[in-house]
């Protein structure tokens, strides 16, 4: 069982992106001349089948670069990374949806890819018809679908509505039916993108169970992309960490997840946009910098659960307006769920200038884990509001649990669920 099933060598994929050139002064004559030449070039391209670009300046962007790895049969490998790290591109290359620009992939088995739940489902067709349609799209033969039909229906739990057009299904039923078809694929290699993000918790558990089954009991190879670290660590023995199109780490899942978290918090306990091209803001206000520190003003990314965490944001108000510009922070956990939003209270309209907003999260409030912060400012007018800027995942930090000296734990060392874990006051009276 140790033969290589996927071998990737020097793989790269680049896209050409067109930019519109900005010009200060534009004459009508230039516009006509430019557009005519673009027009004729477009027509020429249309007949010769060349690539057409939107703008005049064309930039080559490498979505993936120098990717090398080998996967053995029966392994379940997770692929993690921040948005835009190239995860989806890698899956698209592996499932032959798009062609690589460089390098080569060797696949020693049939690949089925599940980049979306219910690809090709037709709303007008009934559940029964869609099972056949979707099965064929995913690469199953008619005979194969027929023999598994009852199993699929059973797994999905929509027997009653088999002959109803799926457009009348609830979104939950739709997803269940779609996953049921996909779960009964029997390829040597199964490629799965973030598909567990849909459906209710119970169904997610069922899916995860089915996928564990596929990889561990049936000895098939699974490649799984997800932002849900829990799912990755439950299913995969190894993981690949992608960062800006290259592999940063390929190791056991535990090590890779640790690296992912340390990396993301490492780069993001502070930022300064003063000398960068990146700008967040509009005519009224603009973000300058931000950082996370403890109550001794030490900037850091790891906090014990009983430490206070202070989040500070510097911004510039560029125009005197008669409405308050209100800083607000949005907190996300590692699963990408928003835990809470804090809004600065009672802000008066401020004059032009540079301001610093800071807000403290009390000790013993957040649960252990990695947290991401979105920094934003909003102007509230009499009847409406305007968002001045938002910067997602601007900062991140990790809350580390103290297993000892923690009044909540009583020496219990296991994980405690929940988005937050506040230390609240209890009163216990003897009333016997």
């Amino acid at each position: 069982m140790s033969n290589t099933i996927i071998k990737v060598e020097n793989l790269g994929k680049s896209y050409l992106i067109g930019h519109e050139r900005q010009q200060g002064y534009v004459a009508l004559r230039d516009v006509i001349a430019k557009n005519t030449s673009v027009f004729f070039k477009g027509i020429q391209n249309a007949f010769s089948g060349k690539q057409l670009m939107g703008g005049q300046e064309i930039e080559e962007f490498w979505a993936l670069k120098d990717i090398n790895f080998e996967i053995k049969q029966g392994e379940a490998v997770g692929i993690i990374g921040r948005n835009g790290a190239g995860k989806s591109t890698l899956l698209k290359l592996l499932s032959r949806i798009t062609e690589p620009t460089k390098g080569r992939i060797e696949l020693n088995g049939r690949v089925a890819s599940l980049l979306e739940v219910g690809t090709g489902f037709h709303p007008e067709l009934s559940g029964r018809e869609n099972i056949f349609l979707n099965g064929a799209i995913l690469g199953m033969s008619r005979a194969e679908i027929k023999s598994k039909f009852d199993e699929i229906v059973d797994f999905s739990g929509v027997e009653k509505f088999l002959d109803t057009p799926v457009k009348h299904y609830s979104s939950g039923m739709y997803v269940r039916l779609a996953f049921a078809v996909a779960a009964h694929l029997e390829p040597e290699i199964l490629v799965v993108d973030e598909v567990l993000a849909v459906g209710d918790a119970e169904f997610q558990k069922k899916c995860l169970g089915k996928m564990t089954d596929i990889s561990q009991k049936q000895g098939r190879t699974v490649l799984f992309v997800s932002h849900n670290m829990g799912a990755i660590s439950a299913l995969c023995s190894k993981a690949i960490l992608l960062n800006k199109g290259s592999i940063e780490s390929f190791d056991t899942t535990g090590n890779v997840i640790a690296k992912y978290f340390s990396n993301t918090s490492h780069s993001s306990s502070r930022f300064d946009l003063t000398n960068t091209k990146e700008k967040y803001g509009n005519a009224v206000a603009e973000l300058i910098s931000g950082n996370i520190s403890d109550n001794h003003n030490t900037i850091k990314e790891q906090f014990y659960i009983n430490e206070e965490i202070s989040i500070c944001m510097k911004y510039r108000i560029k125009k005197n307006i008669d409405a308050p510009v209100v800083p607000n922070y949005h907190f996300y956990n590692a699963n990408g769920e928003c835990i809470f939003v804090v809004n600065a209270p009672d802000i008066k309209p401020l004059k032009e200038g540079i301001y610093e907003a800071s807000c403290s999260i009390p000790a013993n409030f957040l649960n252990a884990g990695v947290h991401f912060i979105l920094l934003a400012a909003t102007t509230y007018f009499q009847n409406n509001f305007e968002v001045n800027f938002t910067y997602k995942d601007a900062l991140s930090f990790e809350v580390v649990d103290k297993l000892h000296d923690n009044p909540l734990r009583y020496n219990y060392a296991g994980p405690i669920p929940g988005a937050i874990r506040p230390l609240l006051h209890f009163e216990i009276k003897n009333i016997t």
Partner: protein
């Protein structure tokens, strides 16, 4: 089974793949047929009504009002309908297939399969409509007590002919349409304009000989003349043979060029759709 993915690798097993995915081809064609008249009251009757109504309009305007001369003893309705059938098929097949890739963009960006399947199944779905609308032809024959000539047995040859003509053009147009959506606006125009330069409301004999060559460049001329020959028993002249050869040549060239162009651009569909 081993599969190697490399840039620019002309997959030698493309045609083999096409064969392997034949089930998907059936099922997509079946879907297109099935979905076409969903949520309509009269369903598949539409495939009969559309050519029937057009035929009636043509008959009334050209035969009754304009009093266009018809050669022979064949009822004008049959004359028009024999031409309306392939024309209607050509126009729906062209419209459906040229939009097929764009309307199936969700499939293209999420699953691999030989993309050729998509326009092909769109043409097949129109073909089913086409076969259904033959019912009216038989009804007309019975109504006018008309006995078709013996060459009607050759009709299947022309069915294949019109299929290839529509498919080859549709193949090229759908590939271009992925990148340049302009073609979405051009196609209705081609279809509308084409009706007037094809011998649907008139007979090819009325075309002056100095314009004949230009007229024959429309591949549907040969096809429609072929249908007329089979159904109405038009005389098979040197001219008919000429028109058909030109049509066939154009169809073959378009098919080869269309397939080549489609295969060449196919790999980038997922990136630009």
């Amino acid at each position: 089974m081993q599969l190697i993915i490399e840039p620019g690798r002309t997959e030698k097993n493309y045609w083999k793949d096409l064969w392997r995915y034949r089930e998907l081809f059936y099922i997509l064609a079946w879907r297109d047929v099935k979905v076409r008249y969903k949520q309509t009251v009269i369903g598949a009757l539409w495939s009969i009504i559309r050519p029937l109504l057009t035929m009636l309009v043509f008959t009334i305007i050209f035969s009754r009002i304009a009093k266009l001369p018809t050669d022979g003893t064949i009822p004008y309705a049959i004359l028009v309908y024999a031409a309306m059938l392939p024309w209607q098929f050509f126009s729906t097949a062209l419209t459906e297939s040229s939009n097929s890739l764009v309307t199936n963009s969700n499939l293209i960006s999420k699953v691999y399969f030989p993309r050729l399947i998509i326009p092909a199944s769109a043409v097949i779905a129109s073909f089913v409509d086409f076969l259904i609308s033959f019912i009216i032809l038989f009804a007309l024959m019975i109504y006018y007590h008309y006995t078709p000539p013996l060459q009607i047995l050759l009709l299947p040859v022309f069915l294949i002919f019109v299929f290839l003509t529509s498919f080859s053009l549709g193949l090229y147009l759908t590939a271009v349409n992925v990148k340049y959506r302009d073609f979405r606006y051009i196609i209705p125009f081609i279809v509308q304009f084409g009706l007037y330069v094809s011998p649907v409301g008139f007979s090819s004999n009325v075309i002056p000989s100095k314009w004949r060559l230009l007229y024959d460049l429309n591949p549907m001329v040969g096809v429609i003349d072929g249908f007329r020959w089979c159904i109405c028993g038009d005389k098979f002249t040197q001219q008919t043979l000429m028109s058909m050869s030109i049509s066939l040549a154009i169809t073959i060239v378009t098919l080869i060029f269309g397939t080549y162009y489609f295969r060449k651009t196919e790999k980038t569909f997922a990136d630009i759709i």
